[in-house]
Symmetry: C2
Subunit: 684 residues, 2 copies
């Protein structure tokens, strides 16, 4: 890797030379950075990297038809089973590895390959088997888990309906209990209640976890999940089940998404996944969670790993796109100043601005994702955990935070992926439009990440709601002024608490959070203080707006108040995620020993922080936290940071450690082309 | 259309009711708006609409393989020839219609159909035949034009090379004249000099317009174009020509892009397209334009219609995407406030903010595009125009402005298309990801628009350079202070001059450009004054930065100065385009008689202006032109305008007049689905 970095012809171009005094004291070693990024589940990452050496896991063929692609993906899925790569996240008693964190990390790494395979794996093991594990009880585990995690039984997670996607609590499919036969009657009452976009439903799935309104003794008990066979052993639809392929999609065409209709399909009582709600043979309903809505959200909460997985996959796709665009940008030259050599395109400020802030945010997301996976790993209850004596699920209290953060990071990370891959495509010009160079596939495959596993806009609102709830719990009883003052008092304490105290304290002493000169912008303390203040101020003012309107009014009026503040709500959630990202980035830096690699991450973190502030500097100025002069200085500092990071661009993408076989794009393996340009270009 | 608008169920939802006093006095009629938008070449638009009634021009099949798709597109191209739709832009003496404006408008309308067909048409008629018309002389016209515009001779425009895309003046292909045989030797000197991404080169093209460095008498004369046969009548490569298909792309797979290598291919002297440079039989070079660089840019200038065409096509694709997303947003419901009906998603502020500012900018671009086409129509020289006695091309002086504006509008319009189609895809959730709903194809097909026919970043720099040149020509001799004062004095005059003076004057009297209350934001005078000031200030300060550094220094230093200001340069160009857009929008409003339609456009123009200011309010505050309070008021005004435009969303997209057969997306013809939701949804 170091060899390759030195071989980048851009580094020999006089136009790209940087004065020696701006260089980091030593050349950062991408191998050191990579080891640091690999983190706790480094072994899972190494195993996945080895996988890509197998040509059967090469990137998707760019000209395969839908049927061939699906067949290939199914074959790959079965290869993963044989390699023991699909079982790790499940309990050892069912053949799993009791290692959720490693499993999620391995899933993330699949994002360097065919994303159809990743999604198919997510559907089969994360959603289908995961729902059986988390929503079912022992009899379901014993009956299905081993077959599910070894892909002997392919299944679906049938939640979304055509008419209800984001609002899944309102799905219209019904499961009506009949005590006479001790069966549920599963039914699609009208066209828009059909299950839609369901992975594995188009072709391969045989058993579906179906989410339906459970009706017993004439009463609806809210949404529950049941196991409903949809295909027999020959792949034919079961009686009463109608199946339809969703057909071609923008991407992910190796996954067979489909639609499902149920015409009074009967399944035994035992098919109800009854961890959070049971139906006795006589039809009596029993549940440890009285509120139907709470019960449903508790069920959903157990599925949080799907969202976390998508966030990780988006990160991998982003890293791959950046690796391609930056490597190409280092060999591609265009235009020469009079009498000079042609300029390496990555030396252009506009090119740097397209890619480097995105690279910095990708690092921030990486560290935040790693923290999230760790929290998931530590807080996920075992298969036997049951609601406690008070009728509440015995859960780690950090679980609520996990769910909120998973929602926020999934939204911010998948939008970042879409935008960054788009920027990379454009940065590669016509070459970026060719399928062989991977960027078209990456863009198309990840595009749906922003709207599946929770629409991003809805997820940010979920996070905002959780933040508001926390806010109300803490401050609901105080008068408004007291509230604001209390928050202000807590600030410094919070900052000191959460981010490696020692270093920060020292920096606070050196500079102080209110220092006004440009230099202090490159101190993370000032950045963090500003991030925190922004998130807090947005939340406080949001709470005030909503609270002022909460008293009285009908539902129409209440909606109008909420709706008028919707942009505010989304901004508050976004700002909160930004603070998470900055904290995670800083913690990631603190955990690295002093040296060139840490200095480099420090620079990159400055770029993340300042480019984030730059993008929102309209708002920050409106709220009196940046003077006009200082706001301009932020813009200048972003330019300057791009310039200083330029010599390290190759190192920063090499550190992602994406195997060459997975990158595959000819333009990212452009040593050959570069050599030809160098040796034979009469103007070069 | 009006019927459909009334049938939108959202309009009956209590949550969407707007107080009567905010409604426009009468319901705007989409037919009136459409007639206005159709403009000067309404007949061309009507003909194109009729075309889409022919099922052979239905949207592209979503599951066609590459070969089938290409065959279909070629068939459609030949159908267009039979329909007389390809010849209009050419001189009547060669079977054309002498109607460039109508032809370009018809091309724009093809953007509602398969964009592969549009691009194939652009390659064959715009680029290939256009180059023969504009760069060739009578013998070329007589020999080739009739066959070219009737698609009996399919051809290529072989300019871009793998190693040189944006910097086309530096292509490395050589055309060396040999007086002995009176032939040119066309040669690809090394791998990266191969022609790349060339439309029609993959399969169908037989003759190529090849751009190469012309060498005669041992001297290079810069880039010229020659006609080089690349395939024989049987489709086999000509001797010395190597051809390769570019393979699958992100989109536009109905177009056969390919690569071309020349191994000392000989063509007769007469094959040089010699309008701007001739080679005598003995090898003597003659040209009316002494400077090689000026000559080349003059040649390029004649090809400006390609850029204008792409801008128009991007506009059509954007309109189609917005039509789909807005119609779906009017039937799709999700979430209900307690006790209320489910909310139509277009009633959510976040949904409106995604789509309405984009809709407003689409209108602005429509009016600006129409102006540009008109200017192109009026300034394009006939086929016999020759350089004048001074050796300069006898051109309309407005031509220079045309080229600069075409560059800027192409960049801004194609980026807008990419972003808007992406936003529409996300706004439609999972349904937007299905190929049958058109958005995936629209996104993928238009994606390359931002980097072909001139990379957008390069085009904005071209515009900035032209603006700087104009600036220097006017002010180069004055001292800096005088310059600034002179500009300031000119401002009001400029404003009054360019925009329908009467109305504006009255408004200036009513409000005055410096009025500080929120209400005045909805006056276009204040908006225009701010837009103008922003563009001017960015240009002035840019000129100062570059001028300060212009004195001395080597090429490395000069590049560093330019590069440090590159973001500033791009911002200046972008701001200039914004002023063009606002002016065009205002002129479009002025041309409409008073009434509900004009009032509606007034509102929409307010949204365009204020959302543009909102997006750049960080910069505007930095430069002291918006106080914090007023900046916040801009944000609030955008929200309020979204709310006020909501009842007219259907009207505004109906006015685009896209035939239902062209829209095709099931979700945009969702009356059926909506009815099912209405009638059968127990919660609805």
């Amino acid at each position: 890797m170091t060899e390759r970095a030195q071989a980048h012809p851009g580094d020999e171009n006089p136009a790209t030379e940087h004065p020696a005094d701006e260089q980091l004291p030593a050349a950062p070693d991408p191998a050191v950075l990579r080891a640091h990024l690999d983190g706790r589940w480094a072994q899972a990452r190494r195993s996945a990297r080895e996988l890509f050496a197998d040509p059967r896991f090469a990137p998707p063929p760019i000209d395969a038809d839908l049927a061939t692609h699906r067949e290939r993906v199914l074959d790959q899925l079965l290869l993963l089973v044989d390699a023991g790569a699909t079982q790790g996240g499940f309990p050892s008693r069912y053949g799993g590895g009791d290692d959720l964190g490693g499993w999620i990390t391995g899933f993330e790494m699949l994002g360097f390959g065919d994303l159809s395979l990743l999604v198919k794996v997510g559907v089969q093991f994360g959603l289908f088997a995961g729902a059986i594990l988390h929503l079912g009880t022992e009899r379901h585990h014993q009956a299905y888990l081993q077959d599910a995690i070894n892909a002997r039984l392919l299944g679906c997670f049938a939640m979304t309906e055509t008419g209800h996607g984001s609002d899944v609590a309102s799905v219209r499919t019904t499961a009506t209990y009949h005590p006479g036969t001790r069966e549920f009657d599963v039914h699609t009452p009208y066209e828009a209640a059909r299950k839609d976009y369901i992975g594995n439903a188009g072709e391969h799935g045989r058993l579906a976890v179906v989410f339906a309104q459970l009706i017993t003794e004439g009463e609806s008990k809210g949404v529950h999940a049941l196991l409903v066979p949809i295909r027999d052993e020959h792949g034919e639809p079961m009686p009463g089940v109608r199946l339809q392929d969703c057909g071609p999609k923008a991407g992910l065409n190796g996954v067979d998404n489909g639609r499902i209709w149920f015409d009074h399909v009967r399944v035994p009582r035992e098919n109800l996944l009854d961890r959070y709600g049971e139906v006795d043979p006589d039809g009596t309903y029993r549940t440890p969670i009285a509120s139907a809505s709470r019960r449903f959200f508790t069920m959903l909460g157990t599925l949080v790993q799907g969202r976390i997985s998508v966030g990780g996959a988006a990160g991998s796709a982003t890293k791959l796109a950046l690796t391609i665009a930056i490597r190409y940008g280092l060999v591609r030259r265009q235009f020469a100043p009079p009498g000079g050599a042609e300029i390496v395109v990555l030396d252009y400020l506009a090119h740097q601005r397209r890619l480097f802030p995105a690279l910095a945010r990708t690092y921030a997301l990486h560290f935040a994702q790693a923290e999230l996976v760790e929290l998931l790993h530590e807080t996920t209850p075992g298969p036997d955990a049951r609601p406690d004596a008070n009728g509440l699920p015995a859960e780690d209290p950090r679980r609520r935070q996990l769910e909120a953060h998973a929602a926020g990071l999934k939204a911010v990370g998948t939008w970042h992926a879409t935008r960054t891959i788009q920027a990379c495509r454009e940065a590669c010009g016509g070459a970026g439009y060719l399928s062989e160079n991977r960027l078209p596939g990456l863009k198309a495959d990840t595009d749906v990440f922003t709207t599946f596993e929770g629409d991003n806009t809805v997820l940010l609102q979920l996070l905002a709601k959780e933040l508001l709830t926390g806010f109300a719990e803490h401050f609901g009883e105080l008068d408004l002024l007291g509230t604001v003052r209390f928050v202000a008092d807590q600030t410094v304490e919070t900052v000191l608490e959460r981010v490696g105290g020692r270093l920060l304290l020292q920096r606070l002493r050196d500079v102080g959070p209110s220092a006004g000169d440009e230099g202090s912008m490159l101190g993370h303390d000032w950045q963090l203080e500003l991030f925190d203040w922004r998130a807090r101020h947005l939340l406080e003012t949001l709470a005030r707006r909503l609270r002022a309107a909460a008293g009285g009014g009908d539902s129409t009026a209440a909606f109008a108040v909420f709706n008028a503040a919707q942009d505010h709500l989304l901004a508050a959630a976004q700002a909160h995620v930004d603070t998470l990202l900055l904290r995670a980035f800083l913690a990631g830096i603190e955990a690295l020993p002093a040296g060139a690699e840490r200095d480099l991450l420090d620079l990159l973190c400055d770029l993340f922080a300042l480019s984030t502030i730059e993008a929102d500097r309209g708002w920050v100025q409106e709220h009196g936290r940046l003077t006009a002069a200082r706001s301009k200085a932020v813009v200048a500092a972003v330019n300057e940071l791009c310039r200083r990071l330029r010599p390290h661009a190759a190192t920063l993408v090499d550190a992602f450690g994406i195997p060459d076989q997975a990158i595959a794009a000819p333009i990212a393996q452009g040593a050959e082309l570069a050599r030809q340009q160098q040796l034979h270009d009469p103007g070069g």
